[in-house]
Symmetry: C2
Subunit: 131 residues, 2 copies
DNA sequence: CAGGATCCTCTATGATACTG
DNA sequence: CAGTATCATAGAGGATCCTG
Protein backbone atom coordinates (compact mmCIF):
# COMPACT_ATOMS: atom_id res chain seq x y z
CA UNK A 1 0.00 0.00 0.00
CA UNK A 2 2.77 2.39 0.94
CA UNK A 3 4.84 2.01 -2.18
CA UNK A 4 4.62 0.21 -5.43
CA UNK A 5 8.00 -1.41 -4.90
CA UNK A 6 6.92 -4.96 -5.06
CA UNK A 7 9.57 -6.23 -7.40
CA UNK A 8 11.19 -8.68 -4.96
CA UNK A 9 14.22 -6.76 -3.83
CA UNK A 10 13.81 -6.81 -0.07
CA UNK A 11 15.16 -10.15 1.15
CA UNK A 12 14.17 -10.08 4.80
CA UNK A 13 11.48 -7.48 4.89
CA UNK A 14 9.24 -9.52 2.69
CA UNK A 15 6.40 -7.46 1.38
CA UNK A 16 4.17 -10.44 0.99
CA UNK A 17 2.61 -8.98 4.05
CA UNK A 18 0.91 -6.46 1.88
CA UNK A 19 -2.28 -7.45 0.16
CA UNK A 20 -0.73 -6.15 -3.05
CA UNK A 21 1.88 -8.87 -3.12
CA UNK A 22 1.45 -11.24 -6.06
CA UNK A 23 1.92 -14.24 -3.80
CA UNK A 24 -0.86 -13.09 -1.58
CA UNK A 25 -3.14 -12.52 -4.49
CA UNK A 26 -2.38 -15.92 -5.92
CA UNK A 27 -3.31 -17.51 -2.63
CA UNK A 28 -6.49 -15.54 -2.65
CA UNK A 29 -7.25 -17.10 -5.99
CA UNK A 30 -6.36 -20.73 -5.61
CA UNK A 31 -7.07 -20.76 -1.92
CA UNK A 32 -10.65 -20.25 -2.89
CA UNK A 33 -12.73 -23.25 -2.04
CA UNK A 34 -13.73 -24.05 -5.61
CA UNK A 35 -11.19 -22.41 -7.86
CA UNK A 36 -8.45 -24.95 -7.44
CA UNK A 37 -10.86 -27.82 -7.89
CA UNK A 38 -12.10 -26.26 -11.09
CA UNK A 39 -8.58 -25.83 -12.39
CA UNK A 40 -7.66 -29.39 -11.56
CA UNK A 41 -10.83 -30.73 -13.12
CA UNK A 42 -10.12 -28.88 -16.34
CA UNK A 43 -6.50 -29.93 -16.17
CA UNK A 44 -7.56 -33.55 -16.08
CA UNK A 45 -10.27 -33.35 -18.68
CA UNK A 46 -9.15 -30.64 -21.00
CA UNK A 47 -12.56 -29.19 -21.67
CA UNK A 48 -15.81 -29.41 -19.85
CA UNK A 49 -19.30 -28.02 -20.04
CA UNK A 50 -20.88 -26.15 -17.19
CA UNK A 51 -23.01 -29.12 -16.22
CA UNK A 52 -20.06 -31.48 -16.39
CA UNK A 53 -18.09 -29.28 -14.05
CA UNK A 54 -21.04 -29.08 -11.71
CA UNK A 55 -21.22 -32.86 -11.68
CA UNK A 56 -17.54 -33.40 -10.98
CA UNK A 57 -17.09 -30.76 -8.36
CA UNK A 58 -19.45 -32.28 -5.92
CA UNK A 59 -21.07 -29.95 -3.50
CA UNK A 60 -20.62 -26.78 -5.47
CA UNK A 61 -23.72 -24.72 -5.90
CA UNK A 62 -24.60 -23.37 -9.26
CA UNK A 63 -24.10 -19.87 -8.03
CA UNK A 64 -20.61 -20.55 -6.72
CA UNK A 65 -19.58 -22.43 -9.83
CA UNK A 66 -20.68 -19.58 -12.02
CA UNK A 67 -18.89 -17.08 -9.85
CA UNK A 68 -15.73 -19.16 -9.72
CA UNK A 69 -15.71 -19.61 -13.47
CA UNK A 70 -16.21 -15.89 -14.03
CA UNK A 71 -13.33 -15.06 -11.77
CA UNK A 72 -11.01 -17.54 -13.42
CA UNK A 73 -12.03 -16.32 -16.81
CA UNK A 74 -11.39 -12.77 -15.77
CA UNK A 75 -7.95 -13.76 -14.56
CA UNK A 76 -7.18 -15.29 -17.93
CA UNK A 77 -6.87 -18.78 -16.47
CA UNK A 78 -9.61 -20.31 -18.55
CA UNK A 79 -11.71 -19.58 -21.59
CA UNK A 80 -15.46 -19.66 -21.90
CA UNK A 81 -16.87 -20.76 -25.24
CA UNK A 82 -20.53 -20.37 -26.01
CA UNK A 83 -22.12 -22.46 -28.71
CA UNK A 84 -25.50 -20.95 -29.62
CA UNK A 85 -27.24 -24.25 -30.25
CA UNK A 86 -30.81 -24.86 -29.25
CA UNK A 87 -30.10 -25.43 -25.62
CA UNK A 88 -27.06 -23.25 -25.24
CA UNK A 89 -23.80 -25.05 -24.80
CA UNK A 90 -20.90 -23.54 -22.91
CA UNK A 91 -17.46 -25.07 -22.66
CA UNK A 92 -14.65 -24.17 -20.37
CA UNK A 93 -11.01 -24.85 -20.98
CA UNK A 94 -7.76 -23.86 -19.34
CA UNK A 95 -5.63 -21.28 -21.07
CA UNK A 96 -1.88 -21.92 -21.20
CA UNK A 97 -1.63 -19.54 -18.28
CA UNK A 98 -4.16 -21.54 -16.34
CA UNK A 99 -2.48 -24.80 -17.25
CA UNK A 100 0.82 -23.47 -15.99
CA UNK A 101 -0.73 -23.39 -12.55
CA UNK A 102 -1.03 -27.14 -12.56
CA UNK A 103 2.67 -27.36 -11.77
CA UNK A 104 2.65 -25.48 -8.49
CA UNK A 105 -0.60 -27.14 -7.58
CA UNK A 106 0.90 -30.57 -8.08
CA UNK A 107 3.68 -29.62 -5.68
CA UNK A 108 1.09 -28.83 -3.09
CA UNK A 109 -0.63 -32.09 -3.83
CA UNK A 110 2.63 -33.96 -3.41
CA UNK A 111 3.31 -32.28 -0.10
CA UNK A 112 -0.20 -33.02 1.07
CA UNK A 113 -0.03 -36.68 0.22
CA UNK A 114 3.31 -37.03 1.89
CA UNK A 115 2.76 -34.99 5.00
CA UNK A 116 -0.92 -34.74 5.79
CA UNK A 117 -0.81 -37.99 7.76
CA UNK A 118 1.75 -36.33 10.03
CA UNK A 119 -0.52 -33.34 10.36
CA UNK A 120 -3.37 -35.61 11.30
CA UNK A 121 -1.26 -37.27 13.95
CA UNK A 122 -0.19 -33.93 15.34
CA UNK A 123 -3.76 -32.81 15.41
CA UNK A 124 -4.92 -35.92 17.19
CA UNK A 125 -2.10 -35.65 19.71
CA UNK A 126 -2.90 -32.02 20.33
CA UNK A 127 -6.56 -32.69 20.89
CA UNK A 128 -5.72 -35.61 23.13
CA UNK A 129 -3.35 -33.54 25.24
CA UNK A 130 -6.01 -31.05 26.15
CA UNK A 131 -8.57 -33.76 26.76
CA UNK B 1 -12.30 -41.36 1.92
CA UNK B 2 -13.36 -44.53 0.17
CA UNK B 3 -9.85 -45.74 -0.43
CA UNK B 4 -6.37 -44.48 0.01
CA UNK B 5 -5.84 -44.66 -3.71
CA UNK B 6 -5.10 -41.08 -4.33
CA UNK B 7 -1.68 -41.74 -5.67
CA UNK B 8 -2.69 -40.29 -9.03
CA UNK B 9 -3.90 -43.44 -10.63
CA UNK B 10 -7.44 -42.34 -11.36
CA UNK B 11 -7.08 -40.08 -14.38
CA UNK B 12 -10.57 -38.75 -14.61
CA UNK B 13 -12.36 -39.41 -11.35
CA UNK B 14 -10.11 -37.46 -9.02
CA UNK B 15 -11.19 -37.66 -5.43
CA UNK B 16 -9.80 -34.28 -4.59
CA UNK B 17 -13.38 -33.28 -4.96
CA UNK B 18 -14.08 -34.68 -1.57
CA UNK B 19 -13.42 -32.46 1.41
CA UNK B 20 -11.49 -35.37 2.90
CA UNK B 21 -8.81 -35.18 0.26
CA UNK B 22 -5.45 -34.19 1.71
CA UNK B 23 -4.91 -31.68 -1.05
CA UNK B 24 -8.14 -29.98 -0.21
CA UNK B 25 -7.32 -29.84 3.42
CA UNK B 26 -3.90 -28.43 2.74
CA UNK B 27 -5.46 -25.67 0.70
CA UNK B 28 -7.84 -25.00 3.52
CA UNK B 29 -4.82 -24.51 5.73
CA UNK B 30 -2.44 -22.42 3.71
CA UNK B 31 -5.20 -20.76 1.75
CA UNK B 32 -6.12 -19.12 4.99
CA UNK B 33 -5.50 -15.43 4.88
CA UNK B 34 -2.91 -15.38 7.68
CA UNK B 35 -1.54 -18.89 7.96
CA UNK B 36 0.74 -18.71 4.97
CA UNK B 37 2.03 -15.32 6.01
CA UNK B 38 2.80 -16.65 9.43
CA UNK B 39 4.66 -19.62 8.03
CA UNK B 40 6.68 -17.44 5.69
CA UNK B 41 7.48 -14.98 8.47
CA UNK B 42 8.75 -17.77 10.68
CA UNK B 43 10.58 -19.28 7.74
CA UNK B 44 12.45 -16.04 7.24
CA UNK B 45 13.16 -15.28 10.87
CA UNK B 46 13.40 -18.64 12.49
CA UNK B 47 11.74 -17.72 15.73
CA UNK B 48 9.47 -14.89 16.69
CA UNK B 49 7.48 -13.70 19.63
CA UNK B 50 3.80 -13.07 19.46
CA UNK B 51 4.27 -9.33 19.30
CA UNK B 52 6.94 -9.63 16.64
CA UNK B 53 4.64 -11.66 14.48
CA UNK B 54 1.87 -9.18 15.02
CA UNK B 55 4.19 -6.41 13.89
CA UNK B 56 5.35 -8.17 10.75
CA UNK B 57 2.05 -9.46 9.59
CA UNK B 58 0.52 -6.11 9.12
CA UNK B 59 -3.20 -5.90 9.38
CA UNK B 60 -3.70 -9.03 11.39
CA UNK B 61 -5.85 -8.62 14.47
CA UNK B 62 -4.76 -10.11 17.75
CA UNK B 63 -7.65 -12.48 17.65
CA UNK B 64 -6.84 -13.79 14.21
CA UNK B 65 -3.15 -14.13 14.96
CA UNK B 66 -3.88 -16.13 18.07
CA UNK B 67 -6.32 -18.30 16.23
CA UNK B 68 -3.95 -18.85 13.33
CA UNK B 69 -1.09 -19.75 15.63
CA UNK B 70 -3.25 -22.21 17.53
CA UNK B 71 -4.32 -23.91 14.36
CA UNK B 72 -0.79 -24.18 13.05
CA UNK B 73 0.41 -25.49 16.38
CA UNK B 74 -2.36 -28.03 16.40
CA UNK B 75 -1.35 -29.16 12.94
CA UNK B 76 2.21 -29.65 14.11
CA UNK B 77 3.55 -26.95 11.82
CA UNK B 78 4.98 -24.80 14.56
CA UNK B 79 5.86 -24.94 18.22
CA UNK B 80 4.80 -22.59 20.95
CA UNK B 81 7.29 -22.00 23.73
CA UNK B 82 6.25 -20.17 26.88
CA UNK B 83 8.89 -18.55 29.04
CA UNK B 84 7.37 -17.73 32.42
CA UNK B 85 9.29 -14.51 32.93
CA UNK B 86 7.74 -11.47 34.53
CA UNK B 87 5.85 -10.38 31.51
CA UNK B 88 5.28 -13.73 29.89
CA UNK B 89 7.26 -14.41 26.77
CA UNK B 90 6.03 -16.71 24.05
CA UNK B 91 8.06 -17.77 21.06
CA UNK B 92 6.91 -19.46 17.93
CA UNK B 93 9.06 -21.51 15.64
CA UNK B 94 8.45 -23.76 12.66
CA UNK B 95 8.74 -27.48 13.16
CA UNK B 96 10.57 -29.47 10.48
CA UNK B 97 7.14 -30.34 9.17
CA UNK B 98 6.19 -26.69 8.97
CA UNK B 99 9.49 -25.80 7.39
CA UNK B 100 8.94 -28.43 4.72
CA UNK B 101 5.99 -26.39 3.57
CA UNK B 102 8.27 -23.58 2.56
CA UNK B 103 9.19 -25.54 -0.54
CA UNK B 104 5.73 -25.79 -2.08
CA UNK B 105 5.02 -22.26 -1.00
CA UNK B 106 8.08 -20.99 -2.80
CA UNK B 107 6.82 -22.67 -5.95
CA UNK B 108 3.62 -20.71 -5.64
CA UNK B 109 5.60 -17.59 -5.02
CA UNK B 110 7.68 -18.22 -8.12
CA UNK B 111 4.58 -18.74 -10.21
CA UNK B 112 3.03 -15.61 -8.81
CA UNK B 113 6.01 -13.44 -9.54
CA UNK B 114 6.28 -14.79 -13.03
CA UNK B 115 2.65 -14.85 -14.04
CA UNK B 116 0.66 -12.42 -11.98
CA UNK B 117 1.41 -9.59 -14.39
CA UNK B 118 -0.28 -11.65 -17.09
CA UNK B 119 -3.22 -12.18 -14.78
CA UNK B 120 -3.42 -8.46 -14.19
CA UNK B 121 -3.43 -7.81 -17.90
CA UNK B 122 -6.13 -10.37 -18.47
CA UNK B 123 -8.14 -8.86 -15.72
CA UNK B 124 -7.79 -5.37 -17.09
CA UNK B 125 -8.69 -6.55 -20.57
CA UNK B 126 -11.72 -8.39 -19.27
CA UNK B 127 -12.95 -5.38 -17.36
CA UNK B 128 -12.32 -3.15 -20.35
CA UNK B 129 -14.25 -5.42 -22.69
CA UNK B 130 -17.41 -5.21 -20.68
CA UNK B 131 -17.04 -1.47 -20.22
C1' DC C 1 3.26 -9.33 26.97
C1' DA C 2 -0.04 -12.76 25.41
C1' DG C 3 -4.28 -13.95 24.91
C1' DG C 4 -9.19 -14.96 26.64
C1' DA C 5 -14.02 -13.32 26.30
C1' DT C 6 -17.55 -10.44 24.02
C1' DC C 7 -20.02 -7.99 20.89
C1' DC C 8 -20.92 -6.65 16.34
C1' DT C 9 -20.62 -6.36 11.40
C1' DC C 10 -20.00 -7.67 7.03
C1' DT C 11 -19.19 -11.17 3.50
C1' DA C 12 -19.29 -15.60 1.55
C1' DT C 13 -22.24 -19.05 0.24
C1' DG C 14 -26.35 -21.85 -0.09
C1' DA C 15 -31.36 -22.33 -1.43
C1' DT C 16 -34.85 -21.00 -4.41
C1' DA C 17 -37.21 -19.18 -8.32
C1' DC C 18 -37.08 -17.27 -12.93
C1' DT C 19 -35.31 -16.79 -18.04
C1' DG C 20 -33.05 -16.66 -22.90
C1' DC D 1 -28.66 -25.88 -20.56
C1' DA D 2 -26.57 -22.20 -18.40
C1' DG D 3 -27.11 -18.99 -16.23
C1' DT D 4 -29.24 -14.36 -13.42
C1' DA D 5 -31.64 -12.41 -9.48
C1' DT D 6 -33.20 -12.50 -4.75
C1' DC D 7 -33.42 -13.82 -0.07
C1' DA D 8 -31.60 -15.61 4.06
C1' DT D 9 -27.97 -17.07 7.18
C1' DA D 10 -23.74 -18.99 9.29
C1' DG D 11 -19.57 -17.75 10.30
C1' DA D 12 -15.20 -15.14 9.44
C1' DG D 13 -13.03 -11.60 11.22
C1' DG D 14 -12.45 -6.89 13.53
C1' DA D 15 -12.81 -3.84 17.74
C1' DT D 16 -12.74 -3.57 22.55
C1' DC D 17 -12.18 -4.67 27.30
C1' DC D 18 -10.12 -7.59 30.74
C1' DT D 19 -6.46 -10.56 33.13
C1' DG D 20 -2.47 -13.84 34.62
Amino acid sequence: MSSGVDTDAAPVRFDAFSAECPSRRLLDTIGDKWASLTIVALGLNGRLRFSELAARIEGVSQKMLTQTLRNLERDGLLTRTVTPSVPVRVDYELTPLGASLLGPISHLKAWAEEHMPAVDEARAAYDRSRS
